[in-house]
């Protein structure tokens, strides 16, 4: 470890509420330490589990308020869904020619958000981005809950939801099978696989941390709860070897899943012959957009949480800055895709392609197109400047813009392409009826799950963060010899 890893760490203030926000110069030689404040392993554990170990009756009032708010939105959602069952999808504004609207927009929005979690846990892991250890647990939890929300959108949009099991190829006496040639059917498999692997990945990472909570448990229910969840983990060498192998394998399995799920979601649109939907760049463009939206959601969740939970030493402003850079990159990638679509529509000389894109930008839904461009392409460009991308308030605001923009991206794709199709006599202007409840309701579901996660599960991967701290180096504390350069591989941005 030694010189290389620490050479860029000037003295930081003592106050743990301040030092995580101090903006350090970009390291050239060596790597910045990922955890600030010279914490010991024990201090890290204490810091993370404090919120989990607070007695139930002493849950902070703002948390209870937040949970009640989210839960009441979720209750509203349940009521809305019952009504939807009773009345059918006629309660939505869907009609000819826009037969597919907010239901699918919400689905793609939520599935997309899930992708940042898998990207952080799997792809950044394989790219040896060690700073991920401070944010991956959050992002993975977000993935799981976002996919739950996405799943609820799809399950509920089929009309006769009591027949949803027909989505699966179940042998039946009528000899009826699902349409294997439909990308909607591929979605069923893709999303289910994605959910399963993400859940396993998340849970595998949680096991050692559950064991930590179990070992520290002072009440019976905690002992039973965390004891059951930790699956008998004792932290033996054999356990760790198996764990590391499983983790790496799951990471390798997740990597293609990040791409495949949103690729197949893009196929839902792109295999059609509709101008605005059918274009070959859709698969990578959707994946980039998904990662983009997902990182924005991570920022929206983690910037307040790190302050409220006192985790600034673990999630430093450097972590926020790194994620902002990814937002800048992926935002520009979707900008490239918007531009390329527009260019090729013009280049193709195909009047239907051309019309669709002119109609998007200057037709009746022009406002949604420019919200999309403003939020997704223009807003992240602020992050070119270090001053702005290390400003936490601004980061949160831009991330919120991106979330809005990414929802509108799906709105633009779905609705503007449909509302004026090739048959001019059937052109119409889609107006949502009760769909707002649908969208807000899924947010209630998401935040209920997420707040419960924060309260009961360790929000930072304790064991993993420790592995990138200087103490994890086998030669930590040894006096290094002179006249040679020692190998430093742990830690670093």
């Amino acid at each position: 470890m030694g010189a290389i890893a620490t050479s860029n760490n000037p003295t930081l203030p003592q106050d743990p509420n301040v030092r995580g926000d101090v903006i350090l110069p970009d390291p050239v030689e060596g790597r910045e330490l990922l955890v600030r404040g010279n914490l010991t392993f024990h201090q890290v554990t204490e810091m993370v589990v404090a919120v989990n170990e607070a007695p139930l009756l002493k849950t902070p009032a703002p948390f209870v308020f937040g949970l009640l708010l989210a839960a009441s939105l979720m209750a509203m959602f349940v009521g809305y869904v019952m009504w939807l069952f009773w009345e059918g999808p006629g309660v939505w504004g869907n009609n000819n020619p826009v037969g597919w609207a907010w239901d699918i927009v919400n689905f793609v929005f939520w599935v997309g958000i899930g992708h940042a979690g898998t990207l952080i846990s799997a792809i950044l892991y394989l790219f040896r981005q060690k700073w991920r250890t401070s944010v991956n647990r959050y992002a993975e939890a977000m993935t799981i809950f976002a996919v739950v929300c996405a799943g609820s959108c799809v399950v509920l949009h089929t009309g006769r939801i009591w027949l949803d099991y027909w989505l699966f190829p179940i042998p039946n006496q009528m000899g009826l099978w699902v349409n294997f040639r439909s990308p909607l059917e591929w979605d069923v498999f893709a999303v289910n696989t994605y959910f399963t692997v993400s859940l396993l990945f998340w849970y595998t990472g949680l096991v050692p941390d559950f064991a930590t909570l179990r070992d520290r448990a002072k009440t019976r229910w905690r002992l039973l709860f965390y004891g059951t969840l930790s699956l008998g983990w004792r932290g033996s060498m054999r356990h760790w070897v198996t764990y590391e192998k499983a983790y790496q394998l799951l990471a390798a399995f997740s990597m293609p899943l990040v791409l495949s799920v949103h690729t197949i979601v893009s196929f839902d649109f792109a295999v059609s012959q509709l101008a605005g939907w059918h274009t070959t760049i859709f698969p990578p463009y959707f994946v980039a957009g998904a990662v983009f939206g997902g990182f924005a959601m991570v920022q929206n969740l983690i910037i307040p949480a790190r302050a409220w939970l006192g985790l600034k030493d673990l999630v430093t402003v450097r972590h926020i800055e790194n994620m902002n850079k990814i937002i800048l990159l992926t935002g520009s990638l979707v900008g490239y895709a918007y531009g390329m679509e527009f260019f090729v529509a013009a280049y193709s000389g195909n009047e239907y392609e051309g019309f669709t894109f002119i109609n998007r930008a200057f037709g009746p839904y022009w406002w949604s197109y420019w919200i999309m461009i403003g939020c997704n392409v223009a807003a992240p460009q602020l992050f070119w400047f270090k001053k702005l991308r290390t400003n936490l308030t601004l980061s949160w605001i831009v991330a919120a813009f991106v979330n809005v923009g990414m929802w509108f991206e799906r709105f633009v794709i779905t609705i503007t392409s449909l509302h004026r199709d090739s048959l001019v006599s059937s052109w119409d202007y889609f107006v949502p009826q009760t769909e707002w409840f649908f969208l807000i309701g899924t947010f209630g579901l998401f935040f209920t799950l997420f707040l419960l996660f924060i309260r009961f599960f360790p929000v930072i991967a304790i064991a993993e963060v420790k592995s990138v701290m200087p103490e994890a180096d086998p030669h930590f504390g040894e006096d290094h010899g002179h006249g040679h350069h020692d190998a430093a591989t742990a830690g670093g941005h």
């Binding site: 970009d26 196929f267 792109a270 679509e341 000389g349 009047e351 190998a487």
Partner: protein, 433 residues
């Protein structure tokens, strides 16, 4: 995470006796011969094929130079530590880009033969004039040349500055503050550079390759050329690093760990290429719109069908299964086989993009354009039968030779490793675990 002793390399210049020192003359001679022979044949009986052969060779080798450029840009932006020992190789192969400006001239010479839109007309082509240019009659290629000039300005400018500042850094080993300033300046330059690169590379692919079939269009085409270029580049990087060690340089500096990482990128970009290529094919096949299927239809007859069907196997499944193994990536022989294989299939991929257009009959003749878009595109061209012409070989040898000569010439001029790079120590100590 071991504390092994790391020594800074001293074998960092091209030895006068090695093949590397002679390469500029040898490869330059062979390359000039091949290129001149091809240019000669551009005035002969099979001149049309000669132009296509030349374009194929040009786009293949250019893809490696462009891949080098984006590699260097990414390493700076990501503040990559592992790659400092091999970055100079890419800096030099990217700095060959000015050569490609010169080599672009024969393409302009063949403009009228290569690009049907330069002399044909129908309703669709007329709708594309705003971008492509070249009004029928005066054969104006002003827009085409202007755009090429912009692309080259971006590439040559970036690769020149990246190499110049990096080699200047070599002398600053002792002056920590100055050398760190250089690294920081390259970091900010590269961030903007990536954006310019992405746009120029994509539009170059549209201009020089996609417009060979001017009725056809695909939004993913720029990414497709990029994916292939990365496969070509990482394979080139692996081979160049091995050749350096054979030539007596960086014997201990480049370790199995670096080769392993290069191998991972070869593997990863093979998968990426397959993903992009499949996305393009699958969506066009599924929607089955005549404007788009034209591209694949001409490649599904006359022998091209066999290459088309072989592509998934040779460009994806075989290298995937081969390179997925850790042992292969960590073995020099294994990695070399993988790299040669990938360069070969990447070359075939560009061959498959360019050559079917040689002598193809595009659309109806100028006078017969009836206006209706459907009619014009319905007349799908036919590719000539799959064959390898003499000019394919001469052009390929020619441009590869000139590229290698320029590359070796640049390697000789400075240290073969970024000896002043502040992250060199980290790179030397790099381990996969």
């Amino acid at each position: 995470m071991s504390s092994k002793v790391i020594e800074r390399p001293t074998d960092i210049t091209v030895p006068a006796t090695s093949l590397w020192a002679k390469l500029p003359v040898i490869a330059g001679g062979v390359g000039a011969l091949g290129t001149l022979a091809t240019i000669g044949m551009m005035f002969g009986e099979h001149k049309e094929r000669a132009f296509f052969s030349y374009l194929f060779a040009y786009m293949t080798v250019l893809s490696v130079a462009l891949g080098s450029l984006i590699f260097v840009l990414i390493q700076h932006v990501a503040r990559a530590g592992w790659s400092a020992v091999v970055r100079r190789i890419a800096e030099n192969s990217a700095a060959t880009l000015p050569l490609f400006v010169l080599l672009f001239l024969p393409i302009l010479l063949g403009f009228g033969h290569l690009y049907p839109w330069s002399h044909e007309s129908d309703k669709i082509l007329e709708a594309k004039r705003w971008w492509l240019g070249a009004d029928l009659g005066n054969h104006s290629m002003a827009k085409f040349v202007l755009r090429a000039a912009i692309f080259f300005a971006v590439w040559v400018g970036l690769s020149y500055v990246l190499r110049k500042r990096s080699t200047a850094q070599d002398a600053l080993v002792e002056d920590k503050e100055k050398r760190n300033t250089v690294t920081l300046s390259l970091w900010s330059l590269s961030a903007g550079g990536i954006f310019l690169y992405a746009l120029s590379q994509s539009f170059a692919a549209v201009d020089w390759l996609m417009s060979l079939q001017p009725h056809w269009y695909s939004t993913i085409f720029g990414v497709y050329y990029f994916a292939g270029s990365m496969v070509g580049f990482y394979s080139f990087l692996a081979l160049a690093a091995m050749a350096l060690q054979k030539g007596g340089m960086l014997k201990t500096a480049i370790t199995t760990e670096h080769f392993h990482d290069i191998g991972k990128f070869m593997f990863g970009h093979t998968v990426f290429w397959a993903y992009i290529t499949f996305s393009q094919f699958m969506l066009i096949w599924y929607a089955n719109i005549p404007e788009e299927t034209e591209y694949f239809m001409v490649r599904m007859e006359g022998g091209w069908d066999k290459l088309s069907l072989a592509m998934p196997l040779i460009h994806f499944f075989i290298p995937f299964l081969f390179l997925v193994s850790r042992h292969v990536k960590r073995s020099r022989v294994g990695l070399a086989i993988g790299a040669i294989w990938l360069i070969t299939v990447h070359t075939l991929d560009i061959f498959w993009i360019v050559i079917p257009n040689a002598g193809a009959h595009h659309g109806p003749p100028a006078g017969a354009a009836h206006g209706a878009a459907g009619e014009a595109v319905a007349a799908v061209g036919h590719a000539p039968h799959l064959s390898v012409a003499l000019t394919d070989v001469t052009a390929f040898i020619g441009i590869v030779g000139l590229f290698l000569a320029a590359f070796a010439f640049l390697m000789k001029k400075n240290a073969v490793v970024c000896i002043g790079d502040p992250r060199l120590d980290e790179s030397l100590a790099h381990e996969n675990f």
